[in-house]
């Protein structure tokens, strides 16, 4: 079996982090995990230390992209075969990890835990953004990604080293579209997600609109101009 690292980026998640990690360690001890505390202002780091969780404590707030990249660098430097993102708010359910891992070992570069592969995507305002991004990816790559905004993504060794060392490799749909265009194999896997039970979501209305505009421009326009550099393998550069 491949060695999997579960990266749990956490920003002000004192209400959820213990539940999420306890669930993981109690029911899925076969997987390694690491909590990346993204400069939280609450007791997230203190809870992790007190309970002895494996923790990377960022001294300043880097945002999700930076926190996740930290986790991937940890995975790359410690010889993991694959890594995945699991949100600290408990929306991502670890029972789907096994199926995602099977898909990845079946020969995918990225596996997305998708809410809408076999389930119909609701036609609501909240899902409008997801529709627009799906449509943009389809238009530019010809591939259908049913749930592009899902944060539950798993990466193989090549991908995680590429994500770990490069600029503009945020864990976002525009990176996915860019990688599809550059020949990466992206698969989806039907999962169910829970609702956030406590704490604050970062995505309010203004931020959602900003995110949407940025993703659309990025996918439809900017990704065409990028050049993929896979020249120098990670281990030679930094280990």
């Amino acid at each position: 079996m491949s060695k999997l690292l579960i990266v749990i980026p956490a920003h002000n998640e004192e209400a959820n982090i213990a539940r999420v990690v306890e669930d993981l360690t109690a029911h899925y001890p076969q997987y390694d995990y690491v909590v990346v505390n993204d400069g939280s202002r609450d007791k997230t780091a203190a809870i992790c230390r007190a309970r002895g969780y494996r923790l990377i404590d960022l001294p300043v707030n880097l945002g999700l992209a930076g926190a996740f990249q930290t986790g991937l660098r940890y995975a790359a430097e410690n010889g993991y075969d694959c890594a995945m993102q699991l949100d600290a708010d408990g929306q991502h359910k670890p029972e789907y990890i096994a199926t995602m891992l099977a898909e990845l070992e079946d020969g995918a570069d990225i596996v997305i835990g998708s809410r809408f592969l076999t389930v119909k995507k609701p036609k609501s305002l909240r899902m409008l953004g997801s529709y627009i991004i799906s449509w943009s990816i389809r238009l530019t790559t010809g591939r259908a990604i049913c749930d592009p905004t899902s944060g539950m993504r798993m990466f193989n060794r090549n991908m995680l080293t590429e994500f770990a060392q490069n600029l503009n490799y945020g864990p976002e749909p525009d990176t996915i579209s860019y990688l599809i265009k550059n020949g990466a194999t992206v698969k989806e896997c039907q999962v169910e997600m829970g609702e956030r039970t406590a704490g604050q979501s970062y995505l309010n209305l203004i931020n959602s609109i900003k995110y949407m505009v940025q993703m659309s421009i990025s996918i439809l326009l900017i990704q065409w101009f990028r050049k993929r550099d896979t020249e120098t393998p990670y281990p030679e550069r930094s280990l």
């Binding site: 001294p59 503009n168 101009f225 050049k227």
Partner: protein
């Protein structure tokens, strides 16, 4: 704004801006979120140059003598707004840098103290 020279200059300026920023993207020298402003800026210049009617309409509305004044004021406004947000960002980066430097120095001190205790 009837002068074709000014319109041509605006078009060239707009294309150079877009070309330069997209080249930086290609070389992976800039983060994508930082390119959006410049692409929008170059699009606005392009639209103003191609449709001078917009500048005429806006300058009558605001009471400017010449339509080019509207173009100037718009560019000044956009750059000022950008400057403002950049100021805030630099300030935040400054404080992050300070925290990071302090963190490293404190860690270093801890390592050295442990060594001396041995």
């Amino acid at each position: 704004m009837d002068q074709p020279i000014i319109r041509l200059c605006l078009i060239i300026g707009s294309l150079i801006t877009a070309g330069f920023i997209l080249r930086r993207v290609r070389l992976a020298k800039v983060q994508i979120e930082d390119t959006i402003f410049w692409l929008a800026f170059s699009l606005i210049l392009l639209v103003l140059a191609i449709f001078p009617g917009i500048a005429y309409w806006a300058s009558t509305l605001l009471g400017f003598i010449s339509p080019i004044n509207f173009v100037y004021i718009l560019i000044i406004f956009l750059l000022l707004a950008k400057q403002f947000f950049m100021s805030i960002r630099i300030s935040q980066m400054d404080s992050k840098l300070r925290i990071l430097a302090e963190r490293i120095a404190l860690n270093e001190e801890k390592v050295e103290r442990d060594k001396l205790d041995l």
